[in-house]
């Protein structure tokens, strides 16, 4: 496989509250042989607040970065943050579909954006460009205790004609990536139900209830940790878990990991390297049982050999039944 290169827009959160997402993503990409080049002097994408001001203005904040990336001649930009991604995609779509809109946006910019950059989420490049085979190939460690509920958040796949990735109602990319690592995944219905992160600060009561729903659905599905791909989701589900417990009379204690951290663990990086200590709800006990993959396989084979007699017997019984009828 040829070396891949992307312009890497980490976004403001990954410089601060989501540092561990940045760290783990970079490590994983190194393992998978993907080069990330940070656009020089990038600025904030504008996110939701800019969209309350004006469509052109919001697009301009995003397009400033797209213009920088366009100059880098890499073609594809990747960002781990769905909020940034959405800002880029909407600006790009608006500017490529509507000439007049493009002119208005470029009027606000020093360097015009011509529409030559494709934006993809980090999950998308891992799932589609790297591929499940390669993801599985690099695994060095098994994580037998993890039961993961993958949480995509509201705007990773929506609206479908903007996101153009995976299913808007039942996305599976993250589930499949984690499964490819050999880690157990639990299916549940709230993968895309909004957790309320956008209003984490000003409307806390409202957010508590939404977060509560997502957490309880994951727990009901038998998950013991949640994987996320969005810094806002992570912050909301992890940092605010205690707020939720207090407000809703619950007692959640479920670690919320970035999916890239799980990948890193399967690829043998130490919890320290992956900034696991930055999680508020510790994942320590769950990952304590991590073992090298070879050892794990040997163990499983032994187990299987011991259990072999049973299925044979069942088969024989089945055959007898057929004869009877």
């Amino acid at each position: 496989m040829a070396e891949k290169e992307y312009a890497y827009f980490s976004g403001c959160s990954l410089e601060g509250t989501a540092k561990e997402y940045d760290t783990s993503f970079r490590l994983v990409m190194k393992t998978l042989g993907v080069t990330l080049t940070e656009p020089e002097d990038w600025s904030c994408c504008g996110s939701t607040p800019a969209h309350t001001v004006d469509h052109v203005f919001a697009a301009a904040l995003a397009a400033r970065n797209l213009a920088i990336v366009e100059k880098m001649n890499i073609g594809t930009l990747t960002t781990p943050c769905p909020s940034c991604l959405m800002a880029f995609k909407k600006a790009h779509l608006g500017m490529t579909e509507d000439e007049a809109f493009k002119d208005q946006v470029n009027e606000l910019l020093d360097e015009p954006y011509e529409g030559g950059v494709i934006s993809k989420s980090s999950l998308q490049i891992i799932y589609e460009d790297v591929g499940l085979e390669k993801i599985a190939e690099k695994v060095t460690h098994a994580l037998p205790d993890l039961k993961v509920a993958a949480y995509y958040g509201c705007i990773m796949n929506r609206p479908p004609d903007v996101a153009q990735f995976d299913d808007p109602e039942n996305p599976v990319a993250m589930d499949r990536v984690i499964s490819a690592l050999g880690v157990e995944v639990r299916d549940y219905a709230f993968k895309t139900e909004c957790c309320g992160a956008a209003f984490g600060v000003p409307k806390r009561a409202m957010v508590n209830e939404l977060t509560y729903k997502v957490l309880s659905m994951a727990v009901d599905a038998g998950a013991n940790c949640i994987a996320v791909a969005c810094p806002l989701c992570q912050q909301n589900l992890d940092l605010r878990q205690e707020q939720v417990n207090r407000a809703m009379g619950a007692s959640f204690n479920i670690p919320v990991l970035y999916f890239t951290q799980i990948m890193g663990l399967a690829y043998g990086y130490s919890p320290k390297e992956l900034d696991m200590d930055k999680l508020v709800v510790s994942a320590g006990p769950l990952i304590k049982t991590r073992i090298p993959i070879a050892e794990y396989r040997a163990m499983k084979e032994a187990e299987a050999a011991a259990a072999k007699k049973t299925p044979k017997a069942r088969e024989a019984k089945e055959a007898a039944k057929t004869e009877e009828s």
């Binding site: 808007p168 039942n170 219905a189 709230f190």
Partner: protein, 653 residues
């Protein structure tokens, strides 16, 4: 030549946006036009009378009517002038309504356009020649394609009227969707109890020949003389020997075959008779599941069958049927659950479709009529019905209403209460559509007498919570979000065209709409005819419709066939191709391009080889005319001269 021009007002339909008087005045200036007038309703009796009078008084020999589309009234006016003694092909129509007055608002522009349109018609009519039809013999056998209730009704009505009928049904038994229903609205009588006897009548009628488990391969010919190739699909059971005893089915070890009849509610055997009342009641092997086919060994049924009917080597068989008319009654299809990812896309066993619920309610269905939910076979107490699941939904490509689901939801909710008295049903709906006789009373009864809770709003999401399914929707009348924790959810999935409907239409040369439903000749006045003469429609293949409407159409189609067959000879359309043997150089390009093989080579007495059109076969497409390098073969009524006259009238006028 004395041309008369009649401009129609169509009340205000035309006169509102076209200055009809001016058009008439302009026409009077044209050479050849000796009479031009405008009239309120030209197609009315006095309107037609006026044309007849004018023909006599003004000695007219060519007539132009500028009015609605010729697809609407060409025939009317042809008959009018014929009654006044003119050849019917001395008429031309200018379409100044559909193509002008209804689509433009500027009266000046419309009037100018109308003047052009009438000018073109005048130019053409002056080149028209008298044409005379010849007659040909009709084969008074009719084929009915599709053995649902509509097709059965059509077949029985035709046969009772003394016609020979060939009924072709794709699946192993006739009966269609109705055979799968439990009870029917609005009377709640048992579906199979009223349909069963009809099915038996079909089977026993001496005038009806049934090809079940058969499909149409090819259709050739024209009204009065069709040749249809029917593919009798291999059943791997010799139906002349099979008695329908069912012994094979009982012993077949393959128990996981997909049950088409029950829409997969429960599995069936690899060899099966679809349901107890099936007609014909014969067994059929599904080779996708049968071990003899998938693994090469089993043969249990062959050993068991007392009549030795099993034949694993059976091949499809093609038979050709000659008929004079065809009734299409191929019914409809339904959306699958995978269209609804927000409702689990078929991943939750307790979210099912309306037709599956119909099978669960049915006494001869997989649960013997006990309402048991698929996941754990327990009796559901809270049932939620979701109407318009996929219907009226542009984002899913079904903008239309599926017509009968509002009614069957009410029916199923009532039946649910009858089966499980302590149950509570909820219906999420956008509108309750129940406009038939006794229909609204029926949906009211569901609410008033059976306590079904109707909630106005769509359902946004369905997800499992413990053993329940949470249905989250809106109650737009309350203006709020609502949730119901249900044991079973039934989706009234959208009605779509039958699988393969488009391909079938192409074989028949009839039109279908964007959704695959067949298009009738006229939405109000010719609802069971198609634009291909000799081909008629009945039932839901034309659009979603319930049983009464389907049966009504079946009978209507049958009566249309009876009328067609009431004559021994039919008149051919004389607008066909004709060869000028002097101009023809015998290149035979036309022979090769004619889509109907209507041209053959002929040797004249002087030894010259030329093309010759077989009158009864030519369909009048004119492909040959635009192929011929010498202009020797001309499609009558649409000759090069006639069409160029129209072109000249616009371009040089």
């Amino acid at each position: 030549m004395r041309v008369g021009v009649f401009i129609c007002h169509c009340g205000n339909n035309i006169a509102g946006t076209v200055d009809v008087a001016r058009v008439a005045a302009e026409m009077r200036k044209l050479p050849g036009v000796v009479y031009a007038t405008n009239y309120m309703y030209t197609c009315s009796e006095p309107g037609q009378e006026e044309i007849k009078q004018a023909i006599k008084k003004e000695n007219l020999d060519r007539i132009v009517v500028a009015a609605c589309s010729p697809r609407m009234h060409e025939n009317t006016f042809r008959k009018t002038i014929e009654k006044a003694g003119l050849n019917r092909y001395f008429l031309e129509m200018a379409n100044i309504r559909e193509h002008i007055s209804w689509i433009g608002e500027d009266k000046e522009l419309n009037t100018a356009k109308a003047i052009d349109a009438v000018k073109m018609a005048v130019a053409k009519v002056m080149k028209n020649k008298p044409l005379y039809s010849s007659s040909f013999k009709v084969n008074k056998r009719v084929m009915v394609i599709g053995g649902g209730v509509a097709g059965m009704q059509a077949a029985l009505d035709c046969a009772d009227g003394g016609l020979d009928v060939v009924l072709v049904e794709k699946s192993p038994s006739i009966g269609g969707m109705m055979a799968r229903l439990d009870k029917t609205f609005p009377t709640i009588d048992c579906s199979i109890c009223i349909l069963g006897p009809k099915m038996v009548d079909v089977a026993q009628h001496e005038k009806i020949k049934l090809h079940a488990y058969s499909e149409i391969d090819e259709i050739k010919g024209y009204v009065g003389n069709y040749q249809v190739k029917v593919r009798k699909k291999a059943t791997y059971v010799d139906w002349t020997k099979c008695t329908g005893c069912g012994a094979c089915m009982e012993k077949c070890p393959t128990r996981n075959a997909y049950d088409n009849f029950n829409f997969g509610v429960a599995p069936t055997r690899a060899i099966n008779i679809p349901f107890p009342q099936a007609i014909p009641k014969k067994a059929k092997i599904d080779p996708a599941f049968c071990r003899q086919f998938t693994k090469g060994k089993c043969g249990v049924c062959a050993k068991i069958c007392p009549t030795g009917a099993i034949n694993y080597e059976m091949q499809d068989e093609i038979v050709t049927e000659d008929v004079g008319a065809i009734i299409v009654a191929t019914g409809y299809g339904l959306f699958d659950l995978d269209k609804f990812p927000e409702y689990g896309a078929g991943r939750y066993p307790d979210v099912i479709t309306g037709i599956q619920y119909e099978r669960i309610l049915n006494a001869s269905g997989p649960t013997s009529g006990h309402i048991l939910r698929p996941s754990d076979q327990t009796e559901p107490k809270t049932i939620v019905f979701v109407s318009c699941a996929g219907s009226r939904d542009k984002s899913l490509g079904v903008p239309y209403c599926s017509n009968f689901c509002c009614m069957y939801i009410a029916k199923q909710a009532i039946l649910t209460k009858d089966h499980v008295p302590d149950s509570q049903s909820y219906v999420f709906y956008m509108d309750i559509r129940s406009p038939g006789k006794g229909y609204d009373e029926f949906t009211r009864r569901a609410q008033e007498d059976y306590g079904v809770k109707y909630i106005r709003g769509r359902v946004s999401r369905i997800y499992p919570k413990g053993k329940k399914m949470v249905v989250r929707g809106a109650d737009t009348l309350l203006g709020t979000q609502v949730e119901v924790e249900a044991d079973l959810v039934v989706l009234a999935t959208a009605v779509v065209s039958a699988p393969g409907a488009a391909g079938m239409a192409e074989k028949l040369h009839i039109s279908y709409d964007t959704f695959g439903f067949y298009v009738e000749s006229h939405p109000k006045l010719r609802p069971v005819e198609t634009n291909t003469s000799g081909v008629f429609l009945a039932g839901a293949c034309q659009g979603p419709k319930d049983i009464p409407a389907s049966v009504g159409q079946g009978s209507a189609a049958a009566s249309k066939v009876q009328a067609l067959f009431s004559k021994d000879m039919l008149e051919s359309d004389p607008a066909i191709a004709q060869v000028n043997t002097n101009a023809c150089v015998g290149c035979l390009k036309c022979v090769r391009t004619c889509p109907f093989q209507a041209i053959k080579e002929e040797e004249l007495r002087n030894g010259k080889k030329v093309a010759k059109v077989i009158e009864t076969v030519c369909a009048g497409c004119g492909v040959c005319t635009s192929t011929c390098p010498c202009g020797a073969i001309q499609l009558q009524h649409f000759t090069d001269n006639q069409l160029l006259a129209e072109v000249n009238a616009i371009c040089q006028g």
